[in-house]
């Protein structure tokens, strides 16, 4: 009985009528085109998300638009006694360049410095080495103020150290000496003593490592400490800096590169290359996304044409249904359901393909030291695109059916 009444339900009968003239070939064509377009878009977005961390080395305490430059050291310069330092005029000139936002000077210690690390606790030995400090203005360093200050009354020296030094210890020294490898977390807790000597003073102070940097290839201390210690232990001679830190508009700027080449400056680290590589990555991803969107838009029009054709072929039936008292909304419903079902299937398939492709390339990225970005953004993009397409389809169907309401004589 329920089966019988179900067979005569308005929904069932409507679908039986209106599914006629639906062309599976056209719908498959649309679905494929739409699937390809959407997959390309979200895969590009996802790839961008996953690859980006490789370019942005995650350093919370130094921003990514900073470059460190030095003057090239040439043999001739060394022999002729040429200076590696930046004169005030050179600094002013850099500061005046349009790509430069801010210039900071590196200052170094002007006294003798000896560092001691206690290894293995109370019973263990101690390692010591001659060392140097450098400082840059605090505005270039993004560490909590409470961690990055120096008080002569309670002398403790906060230090940011190059990550290379730790690597050197772990993979060079510790491995060969049978010493345990140590993590960044442990190093930060290792007791560190600095002995500062000069100008008739000789003091030992505690040190504390507040962070490691890939880009500051040195040992950085707060500028206020540098000023204080140079005054106390130093010779009092004011020297020009041999390194500068620059805040720039875009690390990949070609004009900037040309300027550096002309003046014989070198950029420390790979930041410039990374800037360029990232620029090309963004460019390529943008191109791929545009191509994907074009395919999606074309697919959208294929579906629109297909639906228009279908409605055209079924015009008389649709009009007769309206005459029976079916509302335009009721008459459009089977087509809207069909479109929504297709679009939902395309959405799910596109996400699955994206995730499969991601599972394929992610191990390669992991070898480069990143575990990939979030998939949320790609999912949001997929849902937004499919929602826009569906809304466009629904509006078109409704308008087309509404146009059938008044018949021409």
């Amino acid at each position: 009985m329920s089966n019988t009444s179900n067979n005569y339900s308005s929904k069932h009968l409507k679908w039986k009528l209106l599914r006629k003239h639906i062309s599976p070939a056209q719908l498959v064509g649309f679905s494929l085109a739409s699937l390809i377009g959407l997959t390309i878009v979200i895969l590009a977005v996802q790839f961008h998300q996953d690859v980006r961390p490789i370019f942005n080395d995650e350093e919370s305490f130094i921003k990514k638009d900073y470059l460190i430059i030095t003057r090239s050291v040439s043999t001739a310069g060394t022999l002729l006694g040429g200076s590696n330092e930046f004169s005030q005029a050179a600094i002013d000139d850099i500061e005046a360049q349009p790509w430069c936002r801010k210039v900071g000077k590196f200052s170094s210690n002007d006294y003798s410095l000896y560092a001691t690390i206690s290894v293995g606790g109370a019973g263990g030995g101690a390692m010591g080495t001659m060392l140097f400090f450098e400082s840059i203005p605090s505005e270039f360093i993004d560490v909590a103020d409470s961690d990055w200050k120096f008080d002569p009354e309670k002398p403790e020296i906060p230090v940011i150290m190059s990550r290379d030094y730790l690597s050197l210890y772990n993979f060079g020294f510790a491995a060969s000496q049978g010493l345990p490898q140590i993590s960044e977390g442990i190093v930060s807790k290792v007791p560190l003593d600095f002995t500062l000597r000069g100008n008739g003073h000789n003091d030992t102070m505690k040190g504390r490592i507040v962070g490691f940097s890939n880009r500051l290839n040195t040992i950085v201390v707060p500028q206020e400490f540098m000023k204080w210690s140079n005054e106390r232990y130093g010779s009092g001679i004011d020297r020009n800096p041999s390194r500068l830190i620059l805040e720039v508009n875009s690390p990949g700027d070609v004009k900037m590169q040309r300027y550096f080449d002309d003046h014989g400056y070198q950029v420390a680290g790979e930041k410039m290359q990374q800037g360029k590589a990232q620029y090309f990555l963004n460019l390529i991803v943008s191109i791929v996304i545009v191509v994907g969107i074009i395919i999606s838009v074309l697919a959208f029009f294929v579906l629109m044409l297909s639906i228009y054709l279908l409605l055209q072929k079924n015009t008389k039936k649709l009009q007769d249904l309206l005459l029976l008292g079916y509302s335009p909304a009721q008459v459009s419903q089977p087509y809207i359901n069909m479109v929504l079902a297709i679009n939902a299937a395309v959405l799910v398939l596109a996400v699955i393909i994206m995730l499969l492709a991601r599972a394929y390339y992610l191990p390669m990225l992991q070898a480069m030291g990143t575990s990939g970005g979030t998939i949320i953004i790609a999912l949001i993009v997929a849902v937004v695109i499919m929602t826009l397409i569906s809304v466009g389809n629904i509006i078109a169907i409704k308008r087309k059916i509404k146009a059938l309401w008044i018949q021409q004589s």
Binding site: S10, L13, Q407
Partner: protein, 214 residues
């Protein structure tokens, strides 16, 4: 809906012809609920046009048509849907059946949105009209006369204030004409509905309160 009124109405195609001698066009006419009207016409005098205007799917006329005094040009799409489901039962001259559905499916397509009759009642009406054996036949396979009877049953499957029949018996013999007439009269009486029927010669055999010449 108690009255359908026509005021100075004329199909756009007749514009400029002057007085056509019609008792409907360019006149003031009122159809009242509960009464039976026959509009007899010759071919090409705008009989089907009149029905399409009253049913709201054509608007190419001048003058005013009104339901209970309300100009039907003012009705929204949603209101027209209500009228077609609850107030006005309509049998089009070309019947507007769906050939790919069976006779019963065609009728149920209407009845499923009005829930006016049970399946048994519908099958009973079909048997009365001599098409009881065609319940599950595709409409495409039925003769014109059989199709007309299916369309009549479908028309009666709804609550209504007026039943608008455009040449309901043009393809029926006298016996079936009489059965149709009786069925329409019974349904109209049950609902207190008015009947407006058009004809080019073969009138449905209902008792008529007023006859108009179109």
């Amino acid at each position: 809906m108690n009255t359908i009124t026509l005021h100075n109405t004329l199909p756009a195609v007749f514009a400029g012809r002057g007085d056509t001698g019609s008792e409907i066009w360019l006149r003031d006419v009122t159809f009242e609920r509960g009464k039976h009207y026959l509009i007899s016409a010759e071919s090409g005098t705008g009989k089907s046009s009149l029905c399409s205007y009253l049913y709201g799917y054509r608007t190419d006329y001048s003058g005013t048509m009104a339901f209970d005094g309300r100009d039907i040009r003012q009705l929204s799409v949603a209101e027209w849907c209500q009228v077609r489901v609850h107030n006005l039962a309509y049998l089009a001259q070309d019947m507007k059946l769906f050939p790919e559905l069976t006779a019963l499916e065609n009728i149920m397509l209407k009845n499923s949105i009005t829930n006016h009759k049970t399946e048994q009642e519908i099958v009973g009406m079909m048997q009365q009209l001599g098409i009881g054996d065609k319940v599950n036949s595709l409409v495409a396979k039925l003769s014109i006369g059989q199709q007309q009877r299916v369309a009549i049953v479908r028309t009666l499957c709804q609550p209504c204030d007026f039943i608008l029949l455009d040449e309901p018996v043009s393809h029926l013999d006298d016996t079936n004409n009489a059965i149709v007439a009786q069925m329409v009269m019974e349904e109209a009486k049950r609902q207190g509905a008015g009947v407006i029927s058009t004809s080019v010669g073969n009138n449905v055999k209902i008792t008529v309160d007023k006859e108009f010449k179109l």
